[in-house]
């Protein structure tokens, strides 16, 4: 018997089965029952835009205690302005040179951030798959811009899936992390995100991020910026936001 076989035989014997008889997943089907996510997919598919706007409002509330800044904007141009402001206000933490890095993503490319810093000495890197220096550039950058797959309103979480042009380090090494999301990709709760991950299980790594890095290891005192970004923003593009349906408490979202 090989190492694996012997190891599992010990466990089988501990459970009262004969050690030499290999058991298969078919013998405990209930354990691997995929369940039925149909209702969840229906809920996601048929969610109206107004409902999504309510989710965004909820996300903004839930983001406050996590120190996560959520910025609803009406257009890509507005998103670019918001991101430009965040980049301009922040200062490099580990050095003096102002470099930022962004995922190789169509929505991020549409922002044309390289035009935003004409008057300032800010270098914009993109994590192209072919670029062998992406790691070095991520280390040198003080802002990282990513495009998460989804965001979850209930826990104020973004879900990122690694892939070509989308390294993990972009949301990890820079001091400031900015995520760009279309409101269409906003989910209600973690259950919806799990259902989508079950439907198409990614081969690559996945990470849920809920706010900037933090620690409470010294006298249970909360400090932001332990090892990951110390500042995090989520810019949400809602192209159907209107004057009477905005996120400042008028129209659709009455002031509380």
């Amino acid at each position: 018997m090989d190492e694996k076989g012997a190891f599992l035989a010990t466990i089988r014997e501990a459970l009262g089965y004969p050690g030499e008889e290999v058991r298969t997943a078919g013998e405990c089907r209930r354990l691997f029952d995929p369940g039925d996510d149909g209702d969840i997919f229906d809920r996601i598919t048929y969610r109206t835009h107004v409902e999504k706007q309510s989710l965004l409002k909820l996300m903004m509330e839930n983001a406050v205690p996590l120190n996560l800044g959520v910025h609803p904007v009406r257009s890509f141009a507005a998103a670019a302005r918001t991101i430009g402001d965040i980049v301009s206000a922040a200062r490099p933490e580990f050095g003096d040179i102002r470099q930022i890095i962004q995922h190789d993503d169509d929505d991020i490319a549409r922002l044309q951030l390289w035009k935003k810093f004409a008057g300032q000495a800010v270098t914009v890197h993109t994590s192209y798959q072919a670029d062998m220096a992406v790691r070095e550039k991520a280390i040198a950058s003080y802002v990282g811009i990513t495009a998460p797959r989804w965001a979850v309103a209930d826990s104020a979480t973004i879900v990122e899936i690694t892939g070509p042009g989308r390294p993990r380090s972009t949301s990890l090494l820079p001091s400031v992390h900015i995520a760009l999301l279309r409101i269409e990709h906003l989910l209600a709760d973690l259950g919806e995100a799990y259902a989508l991950l079950r439907k198409n299980p990614p081969q690559e790594s996945v990470v849920f991020i809920s706010g900037p890095s933090k620690t409470a290891d010294i006298e249970a005192h909360m400090v932001h910026g332990a090892h990951g970004p110390r500042e995090m923003h989520l810019v949400v593009i809602d192209e159907r936001m209107t004057a009477d349906r905005n996120y400042q408490g008028s129209g659709l979202f009455p002031a509380e």
Partner: protein, 488 residues
């Protein structure tokens, strides 16, 4: 595991009680997280989640062979390596071989209790490798050559002044006692180490069999760093730390972050496994998962104790336990302190060797109430005591003390015979007088009984025993009833 002397528990518990710094840390964490978790469970309307997760945990354990086999197949299909370690020595030796083969110079660690269980650091250091803990609490512990005292908050026994002086000395920075400044100092020191390390070693909160991924939970981001930047990632996993499906994982994750720190979700939850895929821009070139038995299959085989393997290691029981809340984590002399440690440490490392742990707990039941998956620790503490008292060859325990057993047999005979018992009570009532202290308690008994009062006070016998008071009251009532009948 270092050897534990017999008297260590008593000595270290006393030290803990006398340590003001520890006491204030314990109070802080128990008031906030322990009471908070109890409050949360009481207020949460849908309580079904805890039962559902417990059920799925037990079902997973009952089919652990199948679940682990699937996990291993999926990890290997993704290009990762799986090693099956029967003992701590096996596991350590494999880690050492992987590190040596890859000419590793610097190892960064994400918080892992399993690595402490198997005693990994010393072996890697003996090979000339630099081993650095990256969780802030664990980093502080490592700098101070100290031991962690809590599952989630390892340095809760240190105050900001002690940490400030430690950083001043070891990191060569000006003294500060402000948590943000201290955190920033550690961030700078560790960032350099994290970016240059060759190998990252982490634990595993829960693996998922059907996807072949392991999930790691952290707030600091050190675990993401340790699993992303070094060229090798090695994860240590106790065989029970696995979910069959992502659905099971979801429930476990939600209970873990609630139980540990009252969070809806931790800042980071990463799902990793396998080396970077073609086209992946970063992540490790090599991935190893070490499945560790080290006594767990023996616990699995005993139906009385199997339940303890359902534990999700959130640390909630530490935050509520009145005993842990006084003596702190060091007295347990195990990587697993608190009520969960009092059950799991004897089972993993020897019931005789860790006999004091189950005897020290109060059996108040708070750990059962607060446990997200309702593990019946009090029941198992009693089962351990029974094994110690009566002996069980299967667990290498022998009858504890024949004198104690005799004493209890005598007590049984005495209490079952009315007149002799009453006579004994009256004698004891008279004999106890010289032993009653000013506080009204018996602080010292004579002869073999003195061992019992070494750590406890005993309330004296009432001057009028209950049986006599009962009889008096009963006979008065009987008289009153009969006189009523007479008058009527």
């Amino acid at each position: 595991m270092s050897d534990v002397e017999k008297s260590a528990y008593r000595r270290d518990a006393r030290r803990g009680i006398d340590d003001e710094c520890l006491q204030s840390g314990l109070q802080k964490i128990q008031n906030r997280f322990g009471k908070g978790a109890m409050h949360y469970w009481a207020e949460t309307a849908d309580d079904g989640l805890r039962d559902r997760v417990k059920k799925s945990r037990m079902e997973t354990l009952e089919n652990l062979d199948v679940v682990l086999s699937m996990l291993a197949d999926n990890i290997e299909a993704a290009g990762g390596h799986v090693y099956y370690a029967r003992t701590a020595e096996d596991a350590v030796d494999y880690c050492r071989r992987v590190a040596v083969k890859n000419e590793v110079k610097s190892v960064v660690k994400g918080k892992s209790m399993t690595s402490a269980e198997i005693g990994l650091d010393a072996v890697l250091e003996a090979e000339g490798m630099e081993v650095t803990e990256t969780d802030l609490g664990e980093f502080i512990i490592q700098l101070g050559e100290d031991r962690p005292s809590h599952i989630i908050a390892p340095c809760i026994h240190l105050d900001r002044q002690r940490i400030g002086r430690l950083f001043q000395e070891k990191l060569d920075i000006p003294y500060s006692e402000e948590p943000p400044e201290l955190t920033q100092a550690a961030r700078r020191a560790l960032r350099k180490i994290l970016l240059e390390a060759d190998m990252g070693i982490t634990g595993c909160n829960f693996a998922v069999a059907e996807t072949g991924k392991i999930s790691l939970v952290s707030n600091e981001g050190n675990i993401r760093m340790s699993t992303t930047m070094p060229r090798i990632h090695l994860a240590l996993m106790g065989i029970e730390r696995v979910a069959a499906t992502m659905s099971d994982h979801q429930g476990m994750l939600q209970l873990l972050t609630r139980g540990a720190a009252l969070q809806k979700l931790s800042t980071y939850v990463s799902f990793v496994g396998g080396p970077r895929q073609p086209g992946d821009p970063d992540g490790p070139e090599e991935f190893h998962l070490v499945m560790i038995d080290n006594g767990r299959s023996r616990i699995l085989a005993d139906e009385e104790f199997r339940e303890v393997l359902a534990c999700i290691r959130c640390g909630a029981c530490l935050n509520i336990c009145p005993v842990y809340g006084k003596i702190g984590g060091h007295a347990y002399n195990s990587p697993y302190p608190g009520p969960i440690g009092a059950v799991v440490s004897p089972l993993l490392f020897g019931i005789n060797r860790y006999a004091d742990l189950c005897k020290g707990e109060s059996l108040c039941g708070a750990c059962l109430d607060v446990c997200p998956v309702r593990i019946d620790l009090p029941r198992m503490l009693l089962a351990l005591r029974r094994k110690l008292a009566y002996g069980d060859p299967a667990w290498q325990t022998t009858r504890h003390k024949w004198l104690e057993a005799m004493g209890f047999r005598l007590w049984r005979t005495l209490i079952a015979s009315g007149p002799a018992y009453r006579l004994a009570l009256r004698c004891a009532g008279l004999l106890q007088k010289p032993f009653i202290s000013k506080s009204g308690m018996i602080k010292k008994m004579a002869g073999p009984a003195s061992a019992w009062t070494r750590d406890r006070d005993l309330p004296p016998l009432a001057s009028e025993p209950f049986s006599r008071r009962w009889k008096k009251k009963y006979s008065q009532a009987a008289k009153a009833t009969s006189s009523e009948v007479d008058n009527g």
